[in-house]
């Protein structure tokens, strides 16, 4: 009986961290009615030192336009491998993009910042359109962007 209890405790202790290391996080981006074509958006994360840590989402499927997402492109060289499986269509003016991702807990309250670069045809590029620290307190507190993003928020 005692050994069974010990085995149960051990398996529970091993399983719970595995379950708790990630959680679904909803990222909601609403664009202004800027009066142009669909916007390309790059959502990516930098660490506490400001170094590129990875991409979360790419709105816009044609790699030839990625150079207009200037900060993201500088960090990645436009490498498609960075965004394989996390790429969707560009987002029209006035539309809301809702993405739900299974994100690592380690991203929150650890100095990471989520950035959005934006670009629209025939309009100005907007690197670092949004920059928000990923914290537990920051959840459900939308912020505005500089040019094309009316609001961005994340919820856990």
């Amino acid at each position: 009986m005692k050994s069974l209890l010990a085995a149960l405790a051990l398996t529970t202790a091993l399983t719970i961290p595995g379950i708790a290391t990630a959680r679904p996080v909803a990222l909601t981006t609403t664009l202004n009615n800027y009066g142009g074509d669909g916007a390309y958006l790059a959502l990516y994360v930098t660490d506490a030192d400001g170094a590129y840590a990875g991409s979360l989402w790419m709105a816009g499927g044609k790699s030839k336009y990625y150079e207009h997402l200037t900060d993201w492109y500088r960090a990645t060289g436009g490498d498609p491998a960075q965004i394989n499986g996390i790429t969707g269509a560009s987002v029209g003016a006035g539309r809301t993009l809702e993405i739900t991702l299974d994100l690592a807990d380690a991203l929150f309250d650890a100095g990471y910042t989520l950035h959005i670069d934006a670009a629209v045809e025939n309009m100005r590029d907007s690197p670092n359109e949004v920059a928000v620290p990923l914290t537990s307190e920051g959840a459900d507190n939308p912020v505005g962007g500089r040019r094309y993003v009316a609001s961005f928020g994340y919820s856990m």
């Binding site: 991409s55 394989n84 987002v91 994100l103």
Partner: protein
């Protein structure tokens, strides 16, 4: 008298020998000039109707130019003819969400595909 007659015959023969080929060449040149001019006149009389070589190109060139000037001078957009470099090398574009797992960059907890919605 005989000598004078001989000189006259000789000069006539010389004139004919030199002058006839020259006169013939001048006629040929004259004909060569007048023939194209008459051909133009004939062409005008026939009045060949104008016709379009191709009229099935619906591209809006002005709009295309406008786009090209923004997106790096390229002449392509997402809906137009497949005449850009991506058409020949689709591997350069990333894999869309749901077709492969998210990248192993440490940001994602598992290989769960993202859910996306645009309203």
């Amino acid at each position: 008298m005989k000598r004078t007659l001989t000189l006259l015959v000789a000069s006539t023969a010389l004139t004919a020998a030199v002058g006839l080929p020259a006169w013939g060449a001048m006629r040929a040149m004259t004909d060569g000039i007048t023939r194209p001019i008459s051909a133009i006149a004939d062409a005008e009389r026939e009045a060949v109707p104008l016709m379009f070589i191709s009229d099935d190109n619906d591209d809006d060139d002005d709009r295309e130019y406008r786009r090209a000037s923004f997106f790096g001078g390229d002449d392509d957009d997402e809906e137009d003819d497949c005449d850009d470099d991506d058409c020949g090398d689709p591997a350069r574009n990333p894999a869309p969400a749901g077709t492969v797992s998210p990248p192993q960059n440490g940001l994602f907890g598992s290989g769960t595909p993202p859910k996306v919605q645009v309203n």
